[in-house]
């Protein structure tokens, strides 16, 4: 056990049991999986991506590239989970990943031996011979070997929430700068949100021992949080990572229940926040970065700052005996803390020769040996056992099981880049500092490159107060709490040239110093090329650790300075975010709302089978017992309508109410035909075009009275037509006195069709005379009442080709109306019919619908040429006059019958001339709609054919290579029954 006897912010009274690779261990409340593993001496935790090198725990934060595990199991399995941020809970299960057959012995580790051949970008130069082998052999093997963990086994059983928050100031990060910023703005009365990604507030204060106001950093954090909690204008959000700066809003992910085995009932696993702040203080701290030397990836090598966290925060000694390899003062303090906590520190190797006496004194005092001007050149051991040091006087071997490495600190500038701002290079700290920030953002503390505690506290307070002042609050710069100004000396150092063995820049992706040099040699010397060529920075840590060293090495090998070489930019998200969080509740049946029709419940009672029609659910058909197939039911429904009568809910049609003196003029401009001449009480069929001359939609519009009109659109285009009309009115012709509203949801509409339709209708209207043949002729409309006083509109229109009416009532009466119609029709043997029968009848009648109105066909293509008025202007008219619209080769609407009437047509077939080869050049058009016509007893179709109506009587082929049919078809007029329209006028 490496758990220290005392210390740390874990609760030793609450032991927690967990397993890693099926072995049981114990940790404490307040541990992360990583700290608990270290406490149990588990050092080998994962394998790298490419060479499958054994890897351990490198960091103590979300930047961890190595210690990635599969957390939980089954449908809750979370691959690639950083052990360093996973909060320990009782019963936690974790497994190592990307290894076979076991973590200790991984067969793919052979890749590492082949690394001289498998260098950067080797893929691009190989696997090409023989040609077919890439897809058959190499790629499948690469795909199997690549990837890290395994995705979950089934649909995610947890749920996710979304929430919005608004504030004056968003403070990101709760280290000393963030706390002081939040306090300053909070005291001034500003609405503050303080977001912290960790499960505890305090940031680096949790890991360090520097005193504040002569007390421990922990005491300071407790006081600060208590004060913040006392403000009603401050909201504290723990376990909340702000992951992206977007236009005017920040994305944040709150891990609501990741620290328990299973979320409590009704509790979401995570919550996606969209935070809209007026100002932002980014106090995201800084990150320890690696030094590139031979074997720097061996389990046991750990960032010094992380080791310090394990010692001080978790009460764990990451190693029995450590050495330190660093270029800065902070690493020495980490070593002192480890030593003071009882772990042995054998030596501190620092590349500097001039370390301040204040720092070296600390080592002397503790009896720690120092090797100044030294470098670690290699490491050995399955997990670390031996470190080889170039002391300046020769090589020396240190027998240690831990190496605390620190290459200095990089400010966490990530979020400053999300709007395209480029960080700039600061020579004095050898790091990138924030450049142009997103609007309203300032940066405070270590994220600016100010590393001492005293400075961070002061900077945070100043930035918080400034943000508050900027918003009109009165806030003086606070007096910062008194703290030590600890030494922050460092010397840029990136790469041990004398390294033996593989020296890694990007741990997870196995990018080595040599790869950077090779990329440069091959001309990939721009930073972005380096990244893409070597995959440096593309792993799950997104180059948080390795990018700067990679850039520095590139600068060195290309003889440029770092700023000349480039800068590293970061894209969102700051830390990876579960995909489900973005979807929230919109999944499964709730992906999109479901719109049932008003008569849905009644249709269900009648045994209706439903189908999605856009957002709607509509009855497709109503099977009877003894009807084995859909076709049987549909045939029965069609024949019933044609012979007797049927009803169908057509409420899904778009409905738009227009009023005002200029509606007629308005409609004349949007429809190709004239509406201003329509008399009150009359209905007219109209076609409207898009600006480019293509048909947008068709439907009927009724003039209810002098200045009240009701338009119907197709179901599919309800929204689009309304949008179009609003645009036309508001943008093109605001001078027209027209008002409009979409009333699709306000009116339920039931169609009654068939020779006996009038009898049925008269059974539901209150005044039968109002709908008599004389009072309500074809294409007439009446406003009347039904079912004893319910306001209704009756339109005499027909889609089926039979005598037909559509009755509209306020939506809440829709179901009652359907029931009343069914009841009134019982004597006539009325049937409910569905979408399928409707589709059959409209094809029989040659009415165009979705497949014909596909956004590619003109009015002329659809046979509406004569409807178009030549006496007025209307939208689409000019562009519909273009050359291509007059091209005789343009396919236009025809009817289709199979020559052999027993054969079945299928929509989607293409027309070919008899004997023609199936090629694009021979393509004569396509079959857009096809159905079996029970009325005619054979298959029929509509289609678009080169030559159109001139081809009537000719024989073509309906070629359907996709389904292996090739049928001779006869071209006819696109109307199969009652072309004169006798029935609908009956």
């Amino acid at each position: 056990m490496s758990r220290l006897a005392k210390g740390g912010q874990i609760d030793r009274s609450r032991p927690l049991a967990f397993t890693f690779d099926d072995i049981a261990y114990q940790g404490y409340f307040g541990d992360t999986l990583a700290s608990a593993l270290l406490a149990n001496d588990v050092k080998l935790v994962g394998r790298s991506f490419k060479y499958h090198r054994p890897r351990g725990i490198l960091t103590a934060g979300s930047e961890e590239p190595n210690a990635l595990v599969e957390l939980r199991s089954g449908a809750r399995r979370e691959p690639n989970t950083r052990a360093t941020t996973a909060e320990l809970f009782d019963g936690l299960e974790a497994a190592s990943q990307n290894r076979w057959p076991s973590l200790a012995f991984d067969a793919m580790a052979v890749n590492g031996l082949l690394s001289p051949f498998f260098g950067a970008a080797f893929y691009y130069k190989t696997f090409m011979w023989p040609k077919a082998a890439w897809e058959k052999l190499y790629e499948p093997a690469i795909r199997r070997a690549a990837g890290l963990g395994r995705a979950a086994d089934g649909p995610d059983p947890d749920h996710y929430e979304k929430a919005h928050a608004f504030c004056d100031l968003l403070v990101i990060g709760s280290g000393p700068a963030g706390l002081e910023a939040a306090l300053a703005a909070g005291r001034a009365g500003a609405r503050v949100i303080l977001a912290e990604e960790d499960f505890a507030f305090g940031g680096r204060l949790l890991s360090e021992k520097t005193t504040i106001e002569d007390d421990t950093p922990g005491a300071y954090v407790t006081r600060a949080i208590a004060e913040l909690k006392s403000f009603t204008n401050v909201r504290l959000m723990v376990r909340t990572a702000v992951f992206g700066a977007y236009d005017d809003e920040y994305g944040a992910l709150e891990r609501v229940a990741d620290h328990v085995a299973v979320p409590a009932p009704f509790q979401p696993r995570q919550r996606l926040w969209k935070i809209i702040p007026k100002r932002v203080v980014l106090a995201a701290g800084a990150m320890d970065r690696p030094i590139v030397f031979g074997g720097n990836d061996r389990p046991g090598v750990m960032h010094a700052a992380a080791a310090q966290t394990y010692v001080n925060r978790f009460g764990v000694a990451p190693a029995k005996t450590s050495a330190v390899f660093s270029n800065n003062d902070a690493a020495w303090r980490a070593a002192f803390d480890a030593h003071d906590a009882g772990a042995s520190v054998k030596a501190i190797v620092d590349v500097r020769t001039d370390v301040s006496p204040e720092i070296t004194g600390g080592a002397q005092k503790r009896g720690i040996r120092t090797i100044l001007g030294g470098k670690v050149v290699s490491t050995r051991g399955k997990t670390l056992g031996i470190v080889s040091v170039e002391t300046g006087h020769g090589r020396e071997t240190l027998y240690v099981d831990g190496l605390m490495m620190s290459g200095g600190f990089s400010p966490n500038v990530h979020l400053t880049c999300h709007h395209g701002g480029k960080p700039s290079w600061d020579e004095t700290i050898a790091a990138f500092v924030p450049g142009k920030c997103p609007p309203g953002m300032t940066v405070a503390g270590a994220a600016t490159g100010t590393f001492s505690l005293a400075d961070c506290l002061a900077d945070g307070g100043r930035k918080g107060a400034a943000a508050a002042r900027d918003l009109g609050f009165s806030a003086a710069d606070p007096t910062p709490p008194r703290a030590e100004s600890e030494a922050t000396g460092q010397k840029p150092f990136w790469w041990v040239h004398e390294s033996k063995g593989l020296a890694f820049v990007d741990f997870q992706n196995d990018v080595k110093a040599k790869d950077v040099a090779l990329a440069h040699k091959e001309g990939f010397s721009s930073v972005e090329h380096l990244k893409r060529y070597t995959t440096l920075g593309m792993a799950t840590d997104q180059g948080k650790l390795g990018n700067v060293a990679g850039l520095a090495i590139l600068a060195e090998v290309s003889g440029r300075t770092i700023p000349q070489t480039g800068t590293t930019m970061f894209r969102p998200p700051w830390t990876p975010v579960a995909l489900a969080a973005f979807a929230g509740h919109h999944r499964g049946p709730d992906f999109r709302p479901t719109r049932p029709t008003p008569s849905h419940a009644f249709a269900e009672e009648l045994g209706g089978q439903f189908v999605e029609a856009g957002p709607w659910l509509r009855a497709a058909y109503f099977p009877h017992r003894g009807e084995p197939t859909l076709r049987d039911s549909v045939n029965r429904e069609v024949l019933a309508v044609r012979e007797r009568v049927g009803w169908i809910d057509v409420s899904t049609f778009g409905k738009i109410e227009l009023s005002g003196p200029d509606v007629g003029a308005f409609l004349d401009r949007v429809y190709i035909n004239t509406f201003s001449t329509l008399k009150p009480g009359k209905v007219r069929y109209g076609v409207m075009l898009r600006e480019d001359g293509i048909v947008m939609d068709d439907g009927t519009t009724t003039r209810l009275s002098e200045d009240r009109w009701a338009m119907t659109t197709t179901t599919a285009n309800a929204g689009r037509v309304y949008q179009h009309l609003v645009f036309c009115h508001q943008v093109l012709w605001p001078e027209l006195d027209v008002r409009m509203a979409s009333t699709t949801e306000q009116w339920a509409q039931i169609a009654i069709a068939g020779p006996r339709a009038r009898d049925v209708l008269q059974g539901v209207v209150d005044d039968a005379a109002a709908v008599s043949a004389e009072a309500l002729p074809y294409m007439g409309a009446a406003e009347t009442t039904v079912m004893g006083g319910v306001k209704a509109r009756v339109f005499r229109v027909s889609f089926s080709g039979e005598l037909g009416y559509e009755v509209a009532v306020p939506a809440r009466h829709g179901e009652a109306l359907a029931r009343a119609i069914a009841k009134a029709g019982a004597a006539q043997d009325i049937v409910p019919y569905g979408l399928e029968a409707l589709a059959v009848m409209r094809i029989e009648k040659g009415h165009v619908s979705g497949p014909e109105l596909n956004g590619q066909t003109s009015a002329a293509d659809l046979g509406f040429a004569r409807m178009a008025s030549t006496k007025k202007d209307y939208i689409g008219r000019v562009l519909a006059g273009r050359e291509a619209f007059r091209d005789p080769r343009r396919p236009s609407l025809v009817g289709i019958k199979p020559v052999d009437r027993t054969q079945m047509l299928r929509a989607g077939a293409h027309f070919l001339k008899p004997g023609a080869k199936p090629t694009t050049g021979n393509d004569q058009g396509w079959l857009s709609s096809a159905t079996w016509s029970p009325t005619l007893g054979h298959s029929i179709g509509l289609g678009f054919l080169v030559g159109g109506s001139a081809m009537v009587g000719e024989v073509f082929r309906a070629w359907d290579g996709l389904r292996g049919t090739d049928i001779e078809v006869e071209i006819c007029a696109p109307c199969f029954i009652d072309p004169e329209g006798v029935r609908l006028r009956g």
Partner: protein
């Protein structure tokens, strides 16, 4: 240097002694026969085929940043020829044929991998429309299969078959479609063009045009000084309108943001490319293991290469509706590219409209797959001053004549295509 097994072994043994830059770092000469603006896939492929097919070697490709820094390096890497209309299908099919041999042509592994694409079907009307499309593909020799629900289920059991708002009823598959490594395509064409003597000039921004008294284009102004050219060809994708503005040319395109997303890498999960038919979501899995996915445009005109949360949410609603088992995978990276969206959703490859100028733009969100054929046809157009038969439908005057190629039937509203 040719890449070969021998070469790899030698370099492996000698610590990469015998490597050289994939292409020369060129500084521009005062004059060229052809100057191509924009070092994306299309510009570099055009240069390559100008040299290879037409013997025109005195060519420079001018790139403001690094080659492949635009959409060529930001796309979701899908290639396919599952188009409907006769103006499109033969062109894209030729592109797929070129993809099929590109490794050998370029001696560079662009990792073109034909793992197939499945467009999912959720309604009868969709099946009919896809049948028409599938037959159009067969007519063009592109290959297509109509899958029923069970076939889709066998192939992709992880899709939501039991609990979906819009049930899956089948799919249209093009087995020959696939993905390629986008950066490698750029580098392969750059290296290939360089071998023919083409100058690839990076970090050189075109800022305007040189014109003679008749108004003809005679060269370009760049951040590295003026460069004369007999012919100036634009392959600027989303930045096209920024440059044509300098010529007072307004084109029927709008620049719009499209986002792309990649998840953390996981073990193989998804065989090929899948597109959702009831929402905007498409996905494939890279060789590294990341799910690469995208959806709708952000919907507003912009030159900013970044997207916003509302579209991310929309895309992932589609993702979760389709594949609810990806919920616990994490989004690793997200970015935006500027697409040159046209009024009919189809590209423009043409001579003019000013003397000395050649246009290649309007690739919408789908120009990656076109890279080889676009280079092939544009090179022909530049070299011969006549449109290539395969791109003959892509002329600019189609908006005047009405011979538009509107695959989606969305009309003249670029953000709907």
């Amino acid at each position: 240097m040719r890449y070969s097994l021998f070469n790899i072994v030698v370099n492996g043994l000698t610590g990469n002694r015998f490597t050289e830059p994939a292409w020369r770092a060129a500084t521009p000469k005062p004059r060229y026969d052809v100057v191509i603006l924009g070092g994306g896939g299309h510009g570099l492929a055009t240069a390559y085929y100008l040299a290879k097919n037409h013997g025109i070697h005195d060519v420079a490709v001018i790139e403001k940043g690094y080659v492949g820094g635009g959409n060529a390096g930001r796309n979701t890497t899908i290639f396919r020829s599952n188009y409907l209309l006769p103006g499109n299908e033969p062109f894209y099919e030729w592109s797929v044929k070129l993809w099929e041999g590109l490794e050998q042509t370029l001696n560079y592994n662009v990792m073109a991998s034909q793992r197939g694409i499945v467009n999912l079907i959720h309604s009868d009307a969709q099946r009919d429309a896809y049948a028409r499309r599938g037959n159009a593909m067969l007519l063009a020799d592109a290959g297509a299969r109509l899958l029923d629900r069970d076939e889709v289920r066998t192939m992709m059991p992880f899709l939501d078959f039991d609990n979906a708002r819009f049930p899956i009823r089948g799919g249209l598959m093009q087995p020959r479609a696939g993905t390629a490594r986008h950066d490698a395509v750029v580098w392969g064409f750059a290296r290939g063009a360089d071998k023919f003597g083409v100058d690839i000039v990076q970090n050189c921004e075109a800022t305007g045009f040189l014109r003679d008294r008749t108004g003809a284009v005679t060269g370009v102004e760049t951040s590295l000084g003026p460069i004369m050219a007999d012919k100036v060809a634009l392959t600027l994708a989303g930045s096209t309108s920024r440059l044509t503005e300098k010529l007072d040319l307004r084109l029927p395109i709008e620049s719009q943001v499209l986002q792309a997303f990649v998840s953390e890498a996981v073990k193989p999960l998804i065989p090929g490319v899948i597109t959702f038919g009831a929402g905007h979501f498409y996905v494939s899995q890279s060789d590294k293991g990341g799910l690469v996915f995208g959806g709708d445009l952000d919907g507003y005109n912009s030159y900013a290469q970044r997207g916003n949360l509302p579209v991310m949410e929309d895309v992932l609603e589609g993702g979760m509706a389709l594949m609810p088992m990806i919920g616990r995978l994490r989004l690793l990276r997200q970015w935006g590219g500027i697409c040159d969206m046209s009024m009919d959703g189809s590209p423009i490859i043409d001579i003019g409209p000013l003397p000395g100028l050649y246009l290649n733009c309007a690739w919408n969100y789908g120009g990656f797959k076109a890279t080889p054929a676009s280079g092939w046809c544009f090179a022909h157009t530049i070299a011969t001053d006549t449109p290539h038969p395969l791109s003959a439908a892509y002329r600019l005057d189609r908006f005047r004549t009405g011979k538009v190629i509107d695959e989606r039937g969305a009309g003249p509203q670029p953000n709907l295509h």
